[in-house]
């Protein structure tokens, strides 16, 4: 059997590095004949691909500004917990769109695309990349037309909320895209980034998990399963560890 030495995965290296960390490799897409022994390989797993720090990968600068502003209204900052922007939700959405989610990898994308009933599931040819490209542009366009030439990101928070509420309620239509569906998609993706593991670019420093009380990527609660109604005592941990696990604390803000 073919031997493969995959990339090594350690929480520390993920935490400290700012470069491309991991490339998903899959030796498993090739048909094999297996007999006599379990086909184990050194580092045979398929570790997660971490979001990289750095510039936008999918969004343009204008789209990125709009997305960050949108993320901060979907999840506004408060004194205890950062909002969607500072916790990285816009970065999360950008990296997801640049990757498999954006390209609809694994989805059935064969034609014909026929509009059906809602309960038959989405039948969109363009997928989320087109939804965001069209949606963010249309959002800025309607704001400029109605709000004295200002892009969405330049409005006051109250005006941003008013525009979004009107879109949500179907009172304000976006050009060339179903505004209500686009906003629902943005809500879902921004909140997903807020609550997912920080390895994907959102939920920075596990802000959301600290806020709600989720202990994260732990895997043994045997000592707590019978301790009913007692707060779990340990802080959260992510797949990239915790800032204080790093010897020099330089890897996380």
């Amino acid at each position: 059997m073919e031997t493969r030495y995959g990339p090594r995965f350690s929480r520390r290296s993920l935490l400290l590095s700012t470069a491309a960390l991991l490339v998903a490799t899959s030796s498993k897409s090739t048909a094999r004949t297996i007999s006599g022994a379990l086909p184990w390989e050194p580092n045979g797993g398929n570790p997660p691909v971490a979001a990289k720090f750095g510039p936008w990968e999918f969004f343009t600068v204008d789209e990125g500004r709009a997305m960050e502003a949108l993320a901060d209204r979907i999840i506004p900052p408060d004194p205890q917990t950062p909002g969607g922007k500072d916790s990285g939700s816009a970065v999360f959405v950008d990296r997801q769109l640049a990757g498999a989610y954006g390209s609809q990898e694994g989805h059935y994308v064969r034609p014909p695309f026929i509009n059906g009933m809602k309960n038959q599931g989405a039948q969109s040819e363009g997928g989320p990349r087109k939804d965001y490209r069209d949606g963010l542009a249309a959002l800025d366009k309607i704001c400029k037309a109605r709000e004295g030439g200002k892009a969405f990101a330049d409005l006051t928070d109250d005006r941003k909320d008013a525009v979004l509420k009107d879109i949500e309620d179907g009172k304000l239509e976006l050009e060339g895209i179903d505004g209500k569906s686009f906003f629902a998609l943005a809500i879902k993706d921004v909140q997903t980034g807020f609550l997912a593991d920080p390895i994907y670019g959102g939920n920075h420093d596990m802000a959301a998990w600290k806020m709600i009380g989720f202990p994260g990527a732990r895997y043994n609660y045997l000592d707590w399963v019978s301790r009913h109604n007692e707060p779990y005592p340990l802080p959260p941990v992510s797949m990239v560890g915790r800032a204080e696990w790093s010897s020099n604390n330089s890897g996380a803000k």
């Binding site: 995965f9 929480r11 498993k28 897409s29 090739t30 048909a31 094999r32 004949t33 297996i34 006599g36 022994a37 379990l38 086909p39 184990w40 390989e41 045979g44 797993g45 997660p48 209204r73 999840i75 506004p76 609809q104 990898e105 694994g106 059935y108 064969r110 059906g116 009933m117 309960n119 038959q120 599931g121 989405a122 039948q123 909320d161 979004l164 949500e168 809500i187 909140q191 609550l195 997912a196 593991d197 994907y200 959301a208 998990w209 806020m211 709600i212 009380g213 990527a217 732990r218 895997y219 043994n220 609660y221 045997l222 707590w224 399963v225 019978s226 009913h228 109604n229 007692e230 797949m239």
Partner: protein
Amino acid sequence: MARILPKKDVVIVGLGWTGSVMANELTDEGLDVIAIERGPWRDAPTDFPPSQMQDELRYRIRHELFLRPDQLTFTLRNKLDQQALPMRDWGAFMPPNGVGGGGVHWNGEMWRFLPSDFVLKTHLTQRYGAGFLPADMTIQDWGITYDELEPYYDRFEYLCGTSGTAGNLRGQIMEGGNPFEGPRSRDYPTKAQTQPFSHTLFAKAARELGYKPFPQPSGNLSTAYTNPHGLRMGPCTYCGFCEWFGCSNYSKASPQTTILPVLVRKDNFTARDNSEVVKINTDRSGKHATGVTFVDSSGETWEQPADLVILSAFSMFNAQLMLHSGIGQPYDPKTGEGRIGRNFTHQTISSVNGFFDKSKFNFNPFIASGSIGMCIDEFNGDNFDHGPLGFVGGGYVGQVQTGARPIESALTPPGTPKWGAAWKTAIKDNYLSTVKPGTGVHGSFYAYRDIYLDLDPLYKDRFGRPLMRMTIDIKENEAKQNRYLTDKFAEIIKAMGATSLAKTYRTAPYDATTYQTTHLNGGVIMGADPKTSAVNRYLQSWDVSNLFVLGASAFPQNAGYNPTLTVGALAYWAADAIRNQYLKKPGPLVDA
């Protein structure tokens, strides 16, 4: 042109639970067995390490361990006159792929069906009269009884190390177990799992309302266990990443933990992964299978000849391969004739989320196993009088919450805005004090004349073959059943002390976009009559006697329980029939 491989005694299509059980049984018999699996080989320590499995985005939201729709999907419509459209991404269910099949990422619920479930048509007709059933309902008896299947239920339970509390031991009702279950010949292999706070609170409230709660039988083990093959499993750690995820801890029963390490070492067993069987080949008579044709990951086509063909893919793919192979007459809903695709069913699922006062309740909801839970069975099957209610069927209800992975479990009480500061505050205030049972109402789904599977006339797969078309809806009987059960369930959640409830009924139309379970059944159903079933009581094709079709495709209709234990028991039952009857005298085991 297909390249022809050396002939084997047995070819097995799909190496999930049933394929693994059958391969192990038939290699024990000395036969030379090859299993051909569509997806990759997967193993617990390499593919599900604890450093990366606790990843809700990757495994739950993006479905990494599952079949990808671009490889194969389905089209869906609710009614005969509608245009079916493809499921471009998964929603209502998530079919498995790869070695271990659904056994990799299932929750491990280990339910036996009720004795009356196996003789459903006879039982309901005797109790309520034939006129009580809806005119278009096509339920039927299984052709096998609970008592016949009991030894095989027992075998699969001991294979898996199942943790539970017996409710009926050889006819004696046992305190703390399910008093409605059929008699079991011996106790569970391991004691029930320890229950977290909200599950315990549900049991207390149910008991005070007069019900008899019991722990859900679990394939996540309460304690260390060595199974009959000598394979060792460890106690579950309640990590809360079981459903949708693989278990690296050898705590969840799966082919990987209970069969494969023994099977793969046998000289007379071979597996091929990443190879999709596209056809069961038959000789000129059409009555004898000669093997299968499969396509590997490089696109090369191979033919694997064999004396015996075991079809053990996921239920709907069994039906699809039968249709693609031209074996058995396709079902026609207009005439009611034909058998392949007939009596396709799902599960009738709903839930009630309970929101509690955070100053009094901290559930630590992230502490759970896949099949943790306290349940009641008062409203399952025909355990209650349906006469005044105007529907048939039922299900268990219970607090079966499998964890609180935050993307799906940061819930807000009804009326909360979906975004903004109010949303943020609400998830903060409710995460630790919300009860989210998931599939808390787990109802039956009976069969109907116009709910079935056939080949789609428009959409094709990557090989240019027609996709499988599902025609499925929620009928009035199931909607009534669900409403009744959901209301009963909500009363218990309320009695736990919830300050507000979010109650959702299952209603028509059948919705492809919200997850319901992956308990899809029927299409190649078993029975006593070759006119109304595709396989006989031993899961042997009525048309091709050296072809056996395993899995939930054999269910004539679905009961109010998770299917896997019955699927596993039927695999052992069929294996026994092959070993002790078929191999001695190959040919039909039941005269048509």
